[in-house]
Symmetry: C2
């Protein structure tokens, strides 16, 4: 019952690649089962599916964390390095060794205990959120915070225990770096929110009219195909919690959900997931069936979803170009609306309770709030029992609103319930990266804005493919940022983007 | 990289069941990938999918055929037998040992060589069929016949090499038994075809009108839900080659294809696949994640698809009951049609070239032709080069028609191209079994025909569930036939069914 790598044919590198390819196959197969579970699986299938996914996940995990992986990495290392530091094989060995070592840090018993607790915690959260009962969730959350702290100790860190958690989602990212970036953004974004709040609101009434699903889907698919999403290697389905998933670069799927009276949800959801999908579709095929066959990190991935959703999809140029098609698709709804009114409506800034519904200006503040609370929890500066009050205080400070309850406050996101601490910052850092990458592209191709306003995306798209997408996970994020932008992650381009765009819209 | 069974917890039977459960999970996962491949996978995904399926299939095969399976079977045997011959555990050990032993008969190199040849052969067949070029297919078919003969020798047999092939699809079925059954059916069915050919044809013009897909789907789904197909544990999708597939008894899916001008294709296709699906949905949950979690054999499975499709779905009582709904669904198409005309139209008998389009009276003759040719090929009484002529001669003898070409003659089916010899007879034997089982049910519940005519299916359905479906693969076919019908497979009920039904329709 060993996997194929028992077969000793070929070089050590061949054997390593075969071993990793089979692990990748099993993981992608689990991905297909996951996609089906979220889209088409009949309700009765849930229990079978849990068994099947557990078995596939156990196979992939056991194979990857087993001694064979280490032995093959050791055996292949010298040859891979001889091909040069920048060779694919050197990168494959390097990245797999990194993930292998991380995977061995937590003892199996600890992982089993944590997984079990996180399932109970997630169930408790679902119920607590439904009944707005934080007391029910509190003991579970306390356990999950404790697991996160113990995980940080087991993973190890130099400066801050939170670094060990960040590193799981964004390799090498440090707490101090996140803080420095947020310290630039926070005061400026809080000030913008306040200034915008004193200005007249743009008209948005027409966005609540009745937009049939078919029109939303057709329009969304037309635009993302123009962007560069290849439907011969992808598809769009409906899912209650939209996502992008891929089973190899030539089968990259997206999902969305429709609300007839909130067309922006599906349309911008499609743009967002297509941003993720275009990245995956264009990772070099040299990396197929390896760990490098994916976007570089959470921050880079989110930078592309937010780039296509917001920087491109919510730009005046692109919206003006597509507005006639929108009017044609929904003639009754948009006959009394101008392109400029539509542009302003989809960019309306309005402090709100829920992160996933937040606009560009307020979004990062939702993230900073979570980051600061996570940090305080992990350091022991904040106890779980005081979390709802701390949450409410920061909501007032940053957004000027007070949550009417915990369900739409501290319990709105699923992440903490399953022990994901260190994940949230990547959302805001993705925004930051999106503007920085767009700036770099514009320096190389100043003609891009004019092209976008004509619905021509190929210059930008090919620049992104060639400078970012093809590399997959060959480079760690810091090295990749240097390669793409020539400098580290920097909040100033994003701030400038926000100030220019919203200064113009709101006359600040 | 051993599977879970390294874990020594529990009794030998517990360990065996855990081992088999994980193999079952991997096979079901492969089933999900196969379903997706036939329904929703974008064209680009084909190569990735082939890799993923190959890896999953290799895992399941390696685990099942490995020494661990034998060791666990040996270790569990005594305890299982102590529970009694009729216990689930005894059946699990018995059936797995049987399949294990069969799986070890063919050397790995032989299987690899045969698999490779069958892929090339299938490709050649596709091209040869498209271009009607039997000469192109001939050398491949010669190889596949040779592999089939060598397989038979490797599997071993007592009476006839063809027995070894039959046994792969229908455990313990003998060539002599098939011959005896076909010898009863052949002259009677040939005579019926001839007699019917001399009678006036029923009216069928209205079946070629334009029937929108939605109406076909809604009607088909309504009826099969009435039959007993549970959509909370199943679903219907579109596939070019319709099939039923299941990932456990609570996730059993069917597919169909629509032709607006041939509504009977989709509607009876849905009935047929739902027959398979109801069987799978009602295997006892005690057999979940074991080899017993499936219909007993090809013949039993086909008996249920044909029972619901034909014996029930093409009966006068059921069609008369649903005709008002059909008229409501397709008012323009059926306003000048009576229920009796519809009944006769969907039961029209007309010798035709293509097996999959054949009616109840001619269908078995298509099968007998293939069975006789297979037998002659395996025995060496017929050479592949003479196959087209032999085919044409039998078509004339049994159905009175001559194939205008080989594409719609000897090359119409995919089975031989991939080396499946011994499979075809199960289709005809399924018909035979369907009538025999229905007769048994009627003896227990003479009220069934009246109920069916009122659209009430639960007496029949529950009788089938309790007397057949729940048993899954616990019993081998002969023992199960004895258990269900109290006698072996017998062609006379089917013949009586055909003679009564078509004698009435055609006034024979």
């Amino acid at each position: 019952m060993e996997n194929q790598t028992d077969d000793a044919a070929g070089s050590a590198m061949d054997r390593l690649r075969r071993h990793l390819a089979e692990i990748s196959d099993v993981e992608k197969a689990a991905g297909v089962l996951g996609w089906d579970q979220q889209t088409y699986m009949p309700p009765g299938g849930a229990e079978h599916r849990a068994d099947q996914l557990a078995t596939l996940s156990r196979i992939a995990h056991t194979w990857f964390t087993g001694d064979t992986t280490r032995d093959l990495l050791d055996a292949a290392q010298a040859d891979a390095e001889a091909e040069g530091e920048d060779s694919d094989n050197a990168a494959i060995v390097r990245r797999n060794r990194r993930e292998y070592e991380i995977s061995r840090k937590l003892p199996n018993d600890f992982v089993a205990e944590m997984t079990h607790a996180s399932i109970l915690s997630n169930e408790a959260w679902q119920k607590a959120r439904r009944t707005d009962d934080f007391a029910l969730f509190r003991p579970h959350l306390e356990k999950m915070v404790d697991f996160a702290r113990r995980s940080a100790d087991l993973y190890g860190y130099e400066d801050h225990p939170y670094d060990a958690l960040l590193n799981l989602y964004e390799p090498e990212m440090k707490t101090a770096e996140v803080k420095a970036i947020f310290d630039v953004l926070r005061p400026a974004q809080v000030a913008m929110v306040k200034a915008i709040g004193e200005k007249p609101k743009p008209r948005t009434d027409f966005l609540a009219r009745d937009y049939p699903e078919t029109g939303q889907e057709n329009f969304g698919l037309k635009v993302v195909q123009d962007f560069g999403y290849d439907l011969s290697r992808g598809r769009l389905d409906i899912a209650p919690h939209p996502f992008e998933t891929d089973f190899g670069r030539n089968d990259v799927r997206i999902t969305t959900r429709y609300d007839r009276h909130m067309p922006t949800q599906a349309i911008y959801g499609i743009f967002h997931e297509a941003g993720h999908a275009m990245y995956e579709q264009n990772v070099s095929e040299r990396f197929s069936r390896t760990l490098l066959d994916s976007g570089a990190s959470m921050v880079f991935h989110e930078s592309q979803s937010r780039l296509w959703e917001n920087v491109i999809g919510r730009s005046r140029g692109v919206l003006t170009h597509y507005f006639p098609l929108l009017q044609e698709t929904f003639p009754e709804n948009l006959k009394d609306v101008t392109a400029e009114e539509f542009y302003r409506a989809v960019n309306v800034v309005k402090p709100s309770l829920i992160r996933v519904e937040a606009d560009e200006v307020t979004y990062n503040l939702h993230i900073m709030l979570r980051f600061e609370l996570e940090l305080a929890l992990i350091c022991g500066d904040l106890e779980v029992k005081d979390l709802p009050d701390a949450w409410a205080a920061k909501m007032r400070e940053y957004l000027g609103i007070t949550p009417p309850n915990d369900a739409d406050g501290v319990m709105q996101d699923t992440h903490w319930s399953s022990g994901s601490f260190g994940y949230f910052p990547t959302y805001a850092l993705g925004n930051v990266m999106s503007a920085q990458i767009f700036d770099t592209a514009l320096k190389a191709h100043p003609e891009i804005p004019d092209e976008l306003a004509r619905g021509k995306f190929d210059t930008l798209f090919h620049w992104l493919v060639n400078n970012l997408y093809v590399h997959g996970r060959k480079y760690l994020p810091k090295a990749l940022a240097q390669k793409v932008n020539g400098q580290p992650l920097d909040p100033h381009p994003y701030l400038a983007y926000l100030q220019q765009k919203y200064g113009d819209i709101y006359g600040l």
